[in-house]
Symmetry: C4
Subunit: 459 residues, 4 copies
């Protein structure tokens, strides 16, 4: 593509104050032109195949941090990739003719059946704002499956580009923070997974207890509380399309669990990506801070700026791949938060219903806030170096510092929802205000239903 | 106007690294001072008359891309211009005493009659939020006619200025993207036209079937289902002012079709303009990208910046001419989207009504989103070069790059609605939020009407 | 204050390419430090007293443009100043012990009485959203009186500072646009005054006709339609505090007229101020445009920037004096637009009522839009030079151009409402959206009242 | 930390035009790296211990200005610190095992009991939007206690850092404004304390009178109006958990008073902090203004910019410590303003109720506006120097001025609510609009309750 003479900014960085150019093993001609987001796989990741190969397992890389959770997700048919467990990102690949894709398609078909069953059911009994929620849930999950497949196709290229970009941050002068990337991702992921398991379990407990109590109390129901009967009553919408059999029952429970997993995994995935990105910006900030009271050569600033720009490009690339997922996750979260908030003033029959409702509501709000805040951290972190840069003495001042400050000040470094909005802390504030408005109007709208109170138990 | 010595920035661009000044055939003294938007036609477009005349038919020019659709629009009395089919933009002219103007006036008068008929009709039966929609429709179309006439007066000057500005992009170093401008405009236009034809046809089918079924079922209606009767019932408002005759009936159908065309053409026209503008910014971005790993002379950046500034000026000029149309189109789209969304929960009588309603609603939302996104693309595209410019090495760094980055960062390059708002992706997000709020409030407001359900069929 | 050696930026401007420093007759030591907004009157405006005194009557100055309307306003007790008709701004002064102040106090007391009468009346019959409007009207007028008195105190200083700042724009290289300042102000003022007179007249006609028709039709009212009876019925709230007598009746009509004048004058005054400011920015833009294809010396840019900065300072100063009035005017206009829009769907009894209502509504919306747009013009105009400045060739490029572009880009040059918001076109867009939201909610709120329809005429 | 060679920007500042470096007694190596917000107390504040110790009591320092009010707050168990009355900030310290902490814990437990009592009470009678307000009040106070304790832990470090930063502003070339910091803080604090005392007293008077009148009038109540009975009726919710005894009664009154104090002190504290910060920015502005017509050496601008950057860092540090409190205060104020506005149209029984209600409402709105405006002043003040800086002549122009202007223009210097929003004047405008929307929707929602009117007195 370009001869060695054209690599001017690379050579430039090495003519500094003796700082060794940090990426000599990534020759320029392998550089993918990121803005065009080359997707062709002929871009051989041959650096990794060379003899200088670092030991990937010990490096603090994003791929190493997320692969356990991506593998777990594959078990639920999310992001069908091959070689995800390999320590070398270049072994990760996507193939249409592969087991994961088949699993995914099976899960998708099953979800589709449930979705259609629900649609049929609702068209029969009449769609209302209340029962619409089920459609939204399964619709979101289906869309998420599709988005994850599309993401999976881009993932091998993305994770290689990511790894190449972050290679430089695994070596001095960058330091690994007290809590490394893998640890951070783990903490977040385990928290989400744990809490969502709790939510799902509580949902089942609440449903089963409600079912049992109803049969105990109602005299007009003579059926025994059996597993078969429970499934048939609780997932009645599925049996619009399928006949009942214990196998189908088990299958429904499985698919329901998988759907719940996917529904939670969307947010978890965004969170992991966000942590991976903000971690690197944090390292840049840390490096800038260390320079605070020193006399700094321009070459250092050139290097820092170069890394900063590269991270921004990586972010842009990731954003272009993730935007659909972010948009879906935001819409989904906003809808469910609004829906659940609306039910706050509803009367419920049993204490277990209250416990489930409040747990579920708080979990939902917490997860939404968490995913937003984690994503907004990228934006916060990318600007944190400004304070030190503004204190650079007039002696160390140079065009490169000016450019870096200008870029940090004017560029919105953040994940976005298809560029419609950027995930920053200010957005969250604006959204909170909007949700309150919606809620007030909806509460008023829902007033008549709420006044009716509980329906008779045994009708 | 100014002697050759004053053309400093032009000469400047030629003292670069041997890049041939790209616009030698457009002498500086023909340069219209765009900010003043000279409208006088004594600005002879004599370049095109000179012997160096390029073959316009083969060039990738905006005029060549849009003229088929502008000619089609003229058949519906929109934008009365002469010589629109000519390959030379300078043959395009506007004259008050011309056939197109007469056609336009006839169509306008006819639309006016229908509008007044509807107004009379509504004042008789009482204006409500529901039946107000017809007035808005014909009012919008009338306003659009007027705006298009005013635009037509400015068009000859505008298209010449546009052609002169984009001349430079038809030659190296600019390249023609894989899909050229004419093709892009064609695709968008044919899609819109096809879908709107479908919408109009479905409307007629839905109306006719509803009419027939009613006569079949209702015993108190003894009339035979004839064309005359159908027109009289369905367009009853026109016959407030006109007597019925088969000629009038045909005329009504024609005018209704023309109105529907104009109503769709507003959006289509904005879309074509947007594509024409963003296409050039895309070319600039592509050129900047090719420079990525090269050592670039300042003169190249001077030239790029000059072209960028010229495109911004062209945009400003186009915006000043188009703003009224954009404002009208936005208001119109927002009104109809709100109106149709409000009807989502209404009960309809026949399946064909549902089919038409959902097709119409989705088409409307799709068209609105499409026109917004196409317009917002200008804004997105104008900033896309920033990534590469930020990576310019400190060796290639120069004041011109700094100026270009500063301008790209701080200037809002986008079409606007009379400068009240700029058509960017963020605006669309904000508008979506606002529409949801309106919708929630309106739904609540409309609740009593909705609860009444369907009116008796045979009343 | 400072010796000649410190006047560096002034001397600087004269060492340009032979352009004569334009303000030699305004020695630097008279320069008021505008950011501190010195209010002490010991700042003798002695330039004007010197022998070089220009003929103020022929100059295109703001004071000369507005004094007729300010004098007219004084007749209605607004802005009690002495010497307003003088052609020299320095003869304008404010004194507590003066005739205008006394007149103002009389009018204020009278308005106060009416306000209290209305308050008493409303407390008796119960305050509702509907009848609250009278209180708001008189409350606004009273507040306006107070604000205008405070403004009058600052006016002498302000108009001198203004005149000094704009002196430079009355001479070459600045040119007087086709339509000069006085003409522009006149047109705007006469339009507002004419339309508001129409509005007030129509109000009286509507009230009188309604009164007459009611007596004609109602059999239970035996009174003759006399002037006394009309006043007593129509202004019943005043007679809570005052006894009826023909003198009082005439007085009420006078005060009502004065209040209407003040209510309109608020907006007119803001409009005149805005025109005065944007006019100068327009001149700067025009000057910049003339430089377009020329080789420009840095000294010229120094001078232009200096004038630009001075205008910004003048704007800041004017804004600090006017902000309360702008805030009041905005709140007042928003309230009345919302109030009147709410009445759009109300049934009225007589055609004259409809005529008055629609005239009044359209006038109100038009005036509000007009005042906003005129004020927003300052903002638009202040940025219009950017286009040309961005085209400055790299040869003419200098630090001064950079500073000017940076300032134009980043500074919000606009009148503000106490810095809470800036009067820009974008604000108007946002406000329109907010008004629609309010209106939708209020319409719903008002639904029960509206459904009741007209009250019986003769109750 | 760093050797003398690295202190380049410090040395730099002294190589100016003979201006003595202003902070020679604060050696660089004591400089805490503020962005990391070192909390370790091993940062000995040994400057103050040195023999050069200035007389702190006479200095215009923030600590000296606020300590009386912080000491007063300690009497109500807010911010448990030791040595707050000392004139040396370094004597201020926090210890878990100390009397203030114990007092705080006692008060917190007491508040907790009341809160739980109220919760129990409300769960019994059913939570509604109306009676929810009590829970919010005590919940806010409890949260405030916790936040204040966390703040107290950071306070010793913060106040030392603050004092060190502001030391430079107590000496020339900075001047002390006409009204010094202590005076400003005093005025604000005394106003808030006085008005809140009035509010609390009026509340008691209103409650007692209402209680007495009810017993006098109602024949079905035979009880004598005693203190015991009054407490039992008025604070009935407490006696859900506690038995009645005169001691408990006194205790309730005390805790209620303390809660009211804390509720007001939140805002007061933010106000004092804001005044402390904006005061310094005012001094910087004043210094810049004095330079207006002078020829200024670059070293002066270096120094000014350094001080400006330090103030920004102090602000950032304070903001990171205060953000939780600001968020709580905003939410609290918004909730109570909305709640009280909603009651405006409610009928009350006795005149004293009206007096209390309106006093309380106006006080609440006033306090909210006051705290917002005071905080927004930081933002306004930080930008006020821009006007003069923009007028710097091209001769004095240097990179340092450019950097200072760039920073002032692009940085949002303001307190924030956890970075979700910044306390600027524009925010207040946006919030006002939002409150109006909420109010309109809520009023409509509350309509049925309001129509019921007063409940029977003797039920």
């Amino acid at each position: 593509m370009e001869g060695p003479t054209t690599l001017n900014y690379r050579k430039n960085s090495s003519k500094g104050n003796g700082v060794k150019p940090v990426e000599s093993e990534v020759p320029g001609k392998l550089e993918t032109p990121p803005p065009k987001f080359v997707k062709t796989s002929n871009l051989e990741f041959n650096v990794l195949a060379s003899e200088k190969l670092p030991n990937f397992e010990t490096l603090d890389l994003f791929h190493r941090a997320v692969y356990p959770f991506m593998f777990l997700a594959q078990c639920f048919a999310v992001m069908p990739l091959l070689g995800i467990r390999a320590s070398y990102p270049r072994k990760v690949r996507f193939a249409y003719k592969s087991l994961p894709i088949i699993v995914t398609l099976i899960f998708m078909s099953a979800t589709c059946i449930i979705f259609l069953g629900m649609l049929t059911h609702l068209l029969q009994i009449g769609i209302s704002a209340k029962n619409f929620v089920g459609l939204v849930f399964f619709g979101c999950v289906l869309t998420a499956y599709v988005i994850f497949i599309r993401l999976a196709r881009r993932w091998p290229h993305l994770i290689r580009y990511w790894t190449k970009t972050e290679m430089v941050f695994t070596r001095p002068p960058y330091e690994i923070p007290k809590r490394n990337l893998a640890r951070r991702v783990q903490l977040a992921a385990l928290a989400i997974i744990g809490l969502s398991l709790g939510e799902h379990a509580l949902y089942q407990v609440s449903a089963i207890l409600t079912y049992k109590r109803r049969i105990q109390i109602c005299k007009n129901i003579t059926a025994e509380p059996t597993f078969d009967d429970y499934i048939q009553r609780n997932y009645d919408y599925v049996f619009q399309l399928l006949p009942y059999s214990p196998v189908v029952a088990a299958f429904i429970l499985l698919i329901n669990g998988a759907c719940t997993f996917v529904w939670n995994y969307m947010d978890l995935f965004i969170m992991m990506i966000s942590k991976g990105l903000s971690y690197r910006f944090e390292q840049i900030t840390a490096r800038i801070r260390k320079l605070e009271h020193e006399e700094v050569a321009e070459s250092t600033f050139i290097q820092i700026r170069e890394h900063y720009v590269k991270m921004c490009e990586l972010l842009e690339f990731v954003d272009s791949a993730m935007s659909s997922l972010i948009l879906l996750s935001c819409v989904n979260n906003l809808y469910f938060v609004c829906y659940q908030l609306l039910n706050v003033f509803n009367k419920l029959r049993w204490p277990i219903n209250y416990i489930y409702f409040w747990y579920s509501l708080l979990y939902l709000i917490g997860r939404t806030a968490f995913v937003f805040l984690t994503a907004a951290d990228i934006n916060e972190e990318s600007k944190r170096g400004l304070g030190v840069l503004r204190r650079v003495s007039s002696r160390s001042w140079c065009v490169e510092v000016e450019r870096l400050i200008f870029q940090m000040t004017t560029q919105t470094v953040a994940l976005s929802g298809k560029k419609f909005y950027f995930l920053t802390r200010r957005l969250l504030f604006g959204m909170a205000g909007t949700i309150v408005t919606y809620e007030l109007v909806l509460l008023q709208f829902d007033e008549p239903n709420r006044r009716k109170g509980l329906q008779p138990l045994c009708a």
